[in-house]
């Protein structure tokens, strides 16, 4: 199947800081790609690059291409890129409290998307809005459309943000930590809704999250980023059953699980380095239990590993 979204060796800088280095990703329609890593690993920046939004934060692509449905987005005009966002790419932000305009009624904020991108009339846009709200299992959709953002709970607001992302009838949803600000019972609802949208409508979902539980629950493939580089990319089952990269293993090992004895939870020592202090060689080596002299000196290349790829000098030793 041809990819809906394809990043080929994309590098990104802001000022003199080279923040992303040769990131390659593919996402097909009807699939969910999870983008994971600690804060500062480059997850959100990758998403911004995928949507052509880097200029907003003063960033620029210094190498590689981003293709959406076969088209190079760097070759598009600003107008074409704007038409792409909202119409073909919907965006769900982390914090629904700040994503909505506090002085506009809910319905009007959703209506405007389909009026702008689909050219619908006022009435048709409202009908579509109510339909979307009902599909997202919002009770009393008509009353909610007349409400103000401050009258809704966090989980309800996040569903409104998802409705806005869907209003332009997109092919791709980019969701940046969509459940991080929510309570667990509400998170479960939102994750179920996102999963169902992909399965029922054949959407593609690029899901940025730090929560490996969420990844295991709904993703098809997983890309693990560390300090601006791809550490590993693979289908979800091998990522968890036989993680190739020590960083992936460490991330999974950080999660408290049922029946775990006290003292068996281990963090990753140290912290993600800043962009101006990236160490030479493998960027993970200062925190890696398996680091050797080779890791400290030479950047490990991305090499095929099962159904995926990984960048580690010690892959052959670890792989089964």
């Amino acid at each position: 199947m041809s990819a809906l979204l394809e990043l080929s060796e994309v590098s990104v800088s802001i000022g003199r800081a080279a923040l992303l280095e040769r990131i390659s990703l593919r996402l097909e329609p009807g699939h969910i790609l999870g983008l994971v890593g600690e804060s500062g690993s480059g997850k959100s920046l990758t998403a911004m690059a995928a949507m052509g939004l880097l200029p907003l934060i003063g960033g620029r692509v210094t190498g590689g291409t981003v293709r959406f449905d076969g088209q190079d987005i760097a070759a598009m005009t600003d107008g074409q890129r704007r038409a792409l966002r909202g119409r073909r790419i919907g965006f769900v932000t982390q914090n629904p409290m700040t994503a909505l305009d506090p002085v506009q009624r809910i319905g009007a904020q959703i209506d405007v998307v389909s009026r702008l991108h689909l050219g619908l009339s006022r009435q048709a846009a409202r009908a579509r809005t109510l339909d979307l709200l009902t599909q997202l299992r919002i009770p009393e959709a008509a009353a909610v459309a007349e409400a103000w953002p401050h009258q809704l709970s966090g989980g309800m607001k996040q569903r409104i943000v998802i409705a806005m992302a869907l209003a332009g009838d997109p092919d791709l949803i980019v969701a940046d930590e969509p459940t991080t600000a929510l309570d667990v019972t509400v998170q479960a609802q939102i994750i179920q809704i996102l999963g169902a949208l992909v399965r029922e409508r054949g959407l593609a979902l690029l899901l940025i999250t730090h929560d490996m539980g969420v990844v295991a629950q709904i993703c098809d493939r997983v890309a693990v980023l560390y300090a601006g580089r791809l550490a590993e990319e693979n289908a979800v089952d091998p990522i968890f059953a036989a993680p190739a990269h020590p960083y992936t293993r460490a991330l999974i090992g950080c999660i408290p699980q049922e029946g775990m004895a006290r003292g068996s939870l281990h963090g990753i020592p140290g912290a993600v380095p800043g962009a101006l202090q990236f160490p030479p060689g493998c960027r993970f080596h200062p925190r890696c239990p398996q680091a050797s002299a080779l890791c400290r000196a030479t950047v490990p290349p991305l090499t095929p590993h099962g159904a995926g790829i990984a960048a580690c000098h010690h892959l052959s030793v670890e792989a089964r």
Partner: protein, 316 residues
């Protein structure tokens, strides 16, 4: 004979009144309702619940950073909730709090040495020589950071400073209010390791507040589950089978990091009721799959097995 508990919380209640004005009746919000709990010396008790369940209010009431509407808190023999200001200040040496957000709980203008000296200033005590270095070392930070300011530190380092500050006066009891909620999981695990180690080394007692049941089950000896200001269940140990439908729902909402254990999520329907207008019966009845007519009219009291009390007419 079991030793007396270090902390006794008795029928603690806190209401907030808001919105009163000309011709406008104030509205009353039940933040914490009739909570009783004892904590033994050396124990780690977890309090878990979603936003608005009253867990942070409870944390502040226990340290008397907030005054209760009714009820009492005892630290050993001294009744914290009845102490006059001077005696309360003296008692504060014995307890401390670690806050959720290490970005806003440290003064950006203070160096770490100043942050760590502050508790001594408040207590009008001389700072022992070498104390700052020792405090930093106790939480795994190098002495060279003493002259650094908070903005030069990572989130995990800041939270270590927050813990070091809480330990400055050698307290017996710490309230930890979501100490890892704003950190990456990799850093969260480091901080939890550190807290476990400090407890063993210094014989500390913790009240650990969190929204993350998985984390609480990993770290705590006993677990108090709160919903809308009230305790709905106390799990006697981490592996105890939950009996309250809400505790079940909390566990079922978490996802295991294992695609082999994917499952259909049966999400809770409905929303959490407003704490300004609690329903007359069980506060959870509107979202509960087991609710009957009785649950909607009568409020179940926390009871049953004294070691594993639950507030439910139809427990599992």
């Amino acid at each position: 004979m079991t030793p007396p508990p270090l902390i006794r919380i008795e029928a603690l209640t806190r209401r907030f009144e808001t919105g009163g004005g000309f011709l406008k009746r104030p509205r009353t919000m039940m933040a914490v309702q009739d909570v009783s709990l004892s904590i033994a010396r050396g124990e780690v008790v977890g309090v878990v619940g979603e936003s608005g369940c009253g867990k942070s209010t409870l944390a502040r009431l226990v340290l008397r950073l907030l005054e209760p509407t009714s009820g009492r808190v005892l630290l050993g023999d001294s009744e914290l909730t009845a102490l006059p200001p001077a005696a309360l200040r003296a008692a504060r040496k014995r307890m401390a709090m670690v806050f959720q957000d290490p970005y806003s709980s440290l003064d950006p203008r203070y160096s770490l040495a100043e942050v760590l000296a502050e508790p001594f200033v408040v207590q009008r005590r001389a700072l022992p020589s070498g104390a700052v270095a020792a405090m930093l070392a106790a939480v795994g930070l190098p002495e060279t950071l003493a002259t650094s300011h908070p903005h030069q530190l990572s989130g995990g380092q800041r939270q270590r400073v927050g813990i070091a500050r809480a330990l400055a006066l050698e307290p017996e009891f710490l309230v930890l209010d979501e100490p890892t909620a704003s950190l990456d999981v990799s850093i969260q695990a480091q901080i939890i390791d550190l807290l476990a180690d400090l407890r063993d080394r210094l014989g500390l007692t913790y009240l650990f507040i969190s929204h993350d049941l998985g984390l609480v089950r990993y770290f705590c000896d006993r677990i108090v589950v709160m919903y809308l200001g009230a305790v709905v269940e106390v799990l006697p140990h981490a592996d105890a089978a939950p009996r309250h439908p809400y505790t079940r729902a909390l566990i079922d909402s978490g996802f295991a990091p294992d695609p082999a254990r994917r499952r259909t999520i049966a999400p809770l329907t409905g929303e959490i009721p407003s704490p300004f207008a609690l329903p007359p019966g069980c506060a959870f009845a509107g979202r509960c799959p087991r609710a009957t007519d009785r649950c909607r009219t009568d409020r179940p009291a926390l009871g049953g097995d004294a070691a594993h009390p639950v507030a439910c007419f139809h427990p599992h």
